[in-house]
Amino acid sequence: MNKSDNPLDNLFRDQLKDHEIQPEPHVWESINTAINKNTRKIWLILAPVILLLVALAIYITANINPSPQSQGPVSGIEQSAPAISMQEDSQTSSLSTGDKQNINQESNQDREIAEDQTSSAQVNDGQENREIKSQNEAASKRDEAKMVSSSDNSGTSIQALNENEEVNFNNEKSNSSVATKISSGDTKNALEREDTFIEDDISQEKSTSTSSEIATSGNNESASVISNSGMGSFEKLATENEGFQRFSVDHFKENEKDQRNVLSTTDLCALMYPKTNECPTFKDLNRRFQLDVYAIGGKKFSTLSTNNSVGNVNDYLNKRRSTETPLWNVGMGIRLANQWTNGISVRGGIQISKGSIRLNYMDESQRRTVVNVSVDTIIDDAGNTTVVWDTISVVETNIIPVEDFNNFTQLDVPLTVGYTFLGRNYDIELNGGVMFNLLFTKHGRIFDPENEIASIDPSDNGSIQAYEKQLGLSIISSVAFNYHLTEQISVFAEPQFRYFLKPVSPELYSLEESWFHMNLMLGTRYSF
């Protein structure tokens, strides 16, 4: 530090160096507000990390608890068990067992019943016609119930199953009356029975009588299937059903309670679509691979710091901070994913991107001399006029602002693990993983510690080694919103956060520079 001997300097230094003035209170308030605001910025960094952790937690949970997607037949049996006991000999009891063959058989039976009724209705009165209509509707509902029940067999929602049971009960009423009518041929009798069913609760006796009447109407094959579809056929179904082979009946029965608890807590469909009758089907779920082609762009962020508090280093740090502004990051890439049916996916690909940092400084070598000439006319008391010429010369330095752009090109390999939440025509993915840098080139200029402009391109003479040869490893996390255009093609938008684990500056360099990117990926996905 310099200490001048100039008396003027001494006067000002002595009087003002330790002079204090109290600022107005609002200054402190604004400082406090600004500091609190800055602390919120940390969430920009924490949020993607939390997102990554959540994705990992879901992944782990999905691995520990058997996913309902892979246990469709189990859930179907679990939930349909009470229905079977109540309708032991009814037609619908076989529907809820998950046996597709039985479903098809019954569907055909319903159509036959409806057709038979239609033919007989040609000779009946208007009352009968109304009945035919109601019966056809009943058959239609029955088919719908089977479809829903069929979706249960592929493993979907407990709630959907409960609702299916209700539909089955209603259909049972209608179809029972239809069967009764077919066997007796008496319209009035059929109406009475139907009324009885509407007024009373479903009873096991009535269901049994209905099935016996169906048997007399010639549907012996159907009746035999129905009669075998109660709890007694449980083991048979378990062994016949392909999707059920993983779980032996004994094992299932032993762990019945635990299984129910697991299913009730991990049913994604019930969690995401509690008001949906049918659980949405994910078109890509049955597909093994997904190919993504995407463009990526976003904002580059850079932080410069130093662990050395020596004055010159701090000056250099401030110099670089004041002259460099991170701008953008753009690129494109391709990646391949393996999607499993439990929602977990693994992605890998290759991506090329280009980033830019703007350099602004005043060129010190540039100088300009400005000459101002002023002319004053002075008139004295005697009226004499004097013209006074005055010349002012000003030598200005740093007058040429220079703007330059430092460009960085990267070739990276992203590897991520994701979890997919299913939607009807869309899905949401949480992805997290790493990105390996394969190639890193840089072109441009920065200030060196001697306050001179130097190239950052290693191939240039006198270049400064302010950046690593390779960027090493980054962590990435993203949320993808994928909209299905067709069964195989979809488009997605995916905000992504990328943080470079190591500083991009070498260890021997006096400053430490770290980067992170906030990007948006837009692309097309082909599933196959």
Partner: protein, 150 residues
């Protein structure tokens, strides 16, 4: 600290901005403060740097006057004792931007011309000439003030 900001700023609002920015910087970089020096000195350095940054981005930094207009060296040491702090502060604030920053850094903060040149991105000769001009202007202003007081 506010007095320091007032010395570098053109007006009170600018001084408040410098002070706010400086304190936020200090808060954000508090972990980099080593207990080798005083906290006050550390914050003071940050304030000076913030004021310089503010000066660098100011559109008024080229504000200057010709040295031809400056009066010859006149000394009124007897006047110095009659000036209070606020008057001195007002005199500094009346200096053109470039002069004020260099004078503050050299005469009051104690920086060398080499350091000033590096921090302000100017040549050392520029720093010296700015200081000379600042002194002459201040002397001129003191002379006028002293004359009025007499």
């Amino acid at each position: 600290m506010f007095a320091l900001c007032m010395r570098y700023a053109r007006h009170k609002l600018e001084a408040e901005d410098i002070m706010q920015e400086g304190f936020i910087k200090a808060f954000e970089n508090l972990d980099s403060f080593r207990s080798e020096g005083s906290l006050e000195g550390w914050i003071r350095t940050i304030m000076v740097h913030t004021a310089i940054k503010n000066y660098n981005r100011s559109s008024f930094q080229k504000e200057s006057i010709g040295i031809e207009h400056l009066p010859e060296d006149t000394m009124y040491p007897e006047a110095y004792g009659d000036l209070n702090r606020n008057e001195l502060l007002n005199l500094i604030k009346e200096l053109p931007e470039g002069y004020r920053v260099v004078f503050n850094m050299y005469a009051i903060e104690g920086y060398k011309h080499k350091e000033i040149a590096r921090m302000l991105n100017i040549g050392e000769s520029t720093s010296r000439s700015q200081l000379v001009k600042a002194r002459k202007l201040l002397q001129s202003m003191i002379e006028k003030l002293y004359t009025v007081l007499l």
